[in-house]
Symmetry: D2
Subunit: 283 residues, 4 copies
């Protein structure tokens, strides 16, 4: 079975669900799952439909023309993707490999519907791991001075590999607009703190100082505003006075893996929509 995911958003009005499902009915799409969300405060309507498109009575381009027409009448924007065109995902890392290994393992087990054409790192350390997983590894060192040039190299690599999604799997550099602007809402970062509480460096040490009883991690779209992009997933774990900052780092690794994997999965399955700096995630 080949499936498609259709996402629509626009101002709420009667008949949206009917008109969209009508189009699917007429073109031979079979709805597998459909979900909606309404932002009550400003009457915005979000629709998410997954449908079996393997027995449609028209080509994809004809379908998309009709869809443009119907959504145009409804004043809504749409976005569509097909399961036989999996996204191409690049992973950026530095020295820590726990998130990278976790993503590669999940990919191997079929949890993440994507291709992983390359890994980029500002350190050479993880090349052997990439080789073990048979994924091309590009080592691009980054210093303050060389960062602009390095990011241009990265950009070229990402473009030449037709990358759709970039994962910062504990990549320890702040990206500049060179990359950020080239992949709007398509770069996912993991922050080892429960945002918005502990932004910036050493969040676990901040948490220790405050004596919090719960720590967390956050995965979010990277934006120019550091650690402030739309939150995709968060997780927390209990700690107590007996946990050293080192213990928190250890516990943190587990939470980081979990929130990053969950965010990546949601994005790859086209379950994420954005609205006013927040995410709407269907499931």
């Amino acid at each position: 079975m080949i499936s498609a995911v259709l996402k629509l958003k626009g101002t709420d009005q009667k008949g949206i669900v009917y008109k969209i499902t009508n189009l699917l009915y007429e073109t031979g799409g079979n709805i597998i799952d459909a979900q909606q969300h309404k932002e009550e405060l400003d009457q915005q309507f979000f629709m998410w439909v997954k449908f079996d498109c393997s027995e449609m009575n028209c080509t994809r381009s004809v379908f998309e023309e009709k869809l443009t027409e119907v959504s145009g009448e409804l004043g809504m924007d749409f976005d569509i993707s097909y399961s036989d065109k999996p996204k191409r995902m690049a992973i950026m890392v530095s020295k820590y490999d726990h998130c990278l290994v976790d993503l590669l393992m999940r990919h191997k087990y079929g949890e993440l519907p994507c291709e992983i054409p390359l890994i980029i790192s500002n350190h050479p350390d993880l090349e052997e791991l990439a080789i073990h997983h048979r994924i091309p590894f590009f080592y691009i060192p980054v210093t303050k001075a060389t960062k602009p040039e390095a990011e241009l190299k990265m950009l070229e690599l990402l473009k030449s590999h037709q990358i759709d999604l970039v994962i910062m799997a504990r990549y320890m550099q702040i990206l500049t607009p060179t990359l950020l602007d080239a992949f709007p809402s398509a770069i996912i970062n993991v922050h080892h703190g429960f945002l918005p509480a502990f932004k910036g460096a050493k969040p676990y040490h901040q948490a220790y100082e405050k004596g919090v009883k719960i720590i967390g991690a956050t995965s979010h779209y990277a934006t120019a505003d550091l650690d402030m992009g739309p939150i995709i997933e968060q997780e927390t774990e209990r700690i107590d006075h007996s946990h050293s900052a080192n213990d928190m780092v250890r516990i943190g690794r587990d939470i980081e893996k979990k929130v990053l994997a969950s965010a990546v999965k949601a994005h790859l399955e086209d379950r994420v929509m954005l609205y006013k700096g927040r995410t709407i995630i269907f499931n």
Copy 2:
């Protein structure tokens, strides 16, 4: 706003969502939320639609006629309820009041859309609590000998109060078919164990003996098969060797309250569908 919840089930086929949403569009219903579920193994389709019915262009009976027609064509069964006709819920208790108080508090805070016309107990202890909450309290003692007669009395009370849903809020008697058959899938019980592991009496003592590291509680529809009715909600909590059976009872009270309240809320909001002894719960 007055809303309605429509639930349909039947064999899957193309066009179900379209035909139902078409009907709503034509009759002026505005979809607030629509969810679906398909049982892959036997191609059963379940649809749940919540819609604003305050501006419909026909009466409810006309709408339901049309609905009968459309669902008939689709070979599906349906069920509909309206927010201006809240369910009438009876609560049965014995001596423990933690679940009862929890339900009454949530009701007061508007979490449970229902009326509570009466409380029935086989003990007189909780009458004062009922008075405090201004709910009629009926004390019907139950012994082995008087159980048949007692249940008939209860049945009469429930019928005369037009009760739709009965909650066994730690009511410590096993019901007979007299009541069970009168309220199919409309009696909710809470079991203080993580079913199916610890059925029957003293589940916490069973859990202690086995040395489990997690205990739980389960809310389910009461059926003739003791503690085996369709599970609506479950919760677990970590324990360790330092917890006595008494500690488990204490922790258990919290989980019992939680699973019962959650199950009751799901039922009252018409989010539960049944299939082959399992529940499908939309949210």
Copy 3:
């Protein structure tokens, strides 16, 4: 059995545990549980001992003299309490009763070892509830102008009732030093946000704006620095885009009850020690 809880703190050195347990052995105390904690960064040692004191071979005052001597030699401060002298706890409320009811229910079930001699409120609404639970209720209205006078009245009431611990069970006024200074580390507040992220008013609306995926609540000792006192307990709960601010308020009620009850229990069982604005909680 009558038990005592002994808490000691001071600079770490060899022999602390031995010397304290030696004293207990010689005086006939039987250790039920003993726990330690060391702050690695500055070599501070914290010891917590619960012991059966019902068969001691000396009076409490003789024991405490010996304890003063031993701890003096070790350069440590100590604090001792006895299970036959339960703490006296006052509860302050405004209009919301969910935390109050939760505390009263837990007290009734024997979860909270204390006496509750009075409830104080700045609103008359919850008097009937207090009457139902047979606890004296004092209504002391508070306006900006009358706050100093009102707090003096409260202070007098708390003193005349020999109160050891004050619980702000969603008491919606900021306390002044009049009360804060009279009960150092003995006033527990519950904040309906996951501190330190969302301080001050309307934390759930702040959480909604930020699009967080997890909300929380925090119980802490009240200090002059609003919502910044030592954190005793925190809990979190997952939310998603479909939750309105109202839903968060509802979920929040459950978390608030939980963190407040847990903090109160820890304090009443003398399991909390303080160090540099953080809590050390033995269990």
Copy 4:
């Protein structure tokens, strides 16, 4: 710093903690952490002490002699281990590698204090992974007919590598007494079900049939009684009607990794004691 962990168990009596800590004081051991547990029903006392043994004033053998004497007087059994003699752990696998990779990663990050001298498998598939991690890999095929002989080979390997602990990281064969008896309470298995509910094969399918709302996994010491050995760790995760058996397998992988890693860590840190088929785990 070199530390030691001392575990004692026996009938409760006054002075146990004092006598043990006295011995440590006299021999120059500095207590880092000490915990106790009493089984109330039959007056058994369990003591766990972690102490800095790097500045003791006697040799380990002299210390252990004194310890034998003191514990003998108290009628208690003891067990001691030293941090400079990490346990030697073998890992047994079949084809699934998620638990193996997880353990190896945690080992690399220093979370698991042990040496891993070998991996044994009844399939050749994971050899490359072992090579990547530079751990000797032994492929020993097992059929019904060859199992006795295969286990003897394994036993020889485990003995010749001085193995202290064997981990069945989704090793899909039932062990016979050949191995079980050679490593009493030193073989840890992970079962992909929330024991004791779903023993044996295909636990997730059992869970699906019952319509449970929570699934789990259990790590336990392997005994002759299949899936009934002392439980070390359990974890649960929420599911709902929309999860297929495949989804449960996916969620299950995460829980399996977690409970196995947690159990292995507890065992390696000598925090586990056994009593009547249950575990007492200090932390």
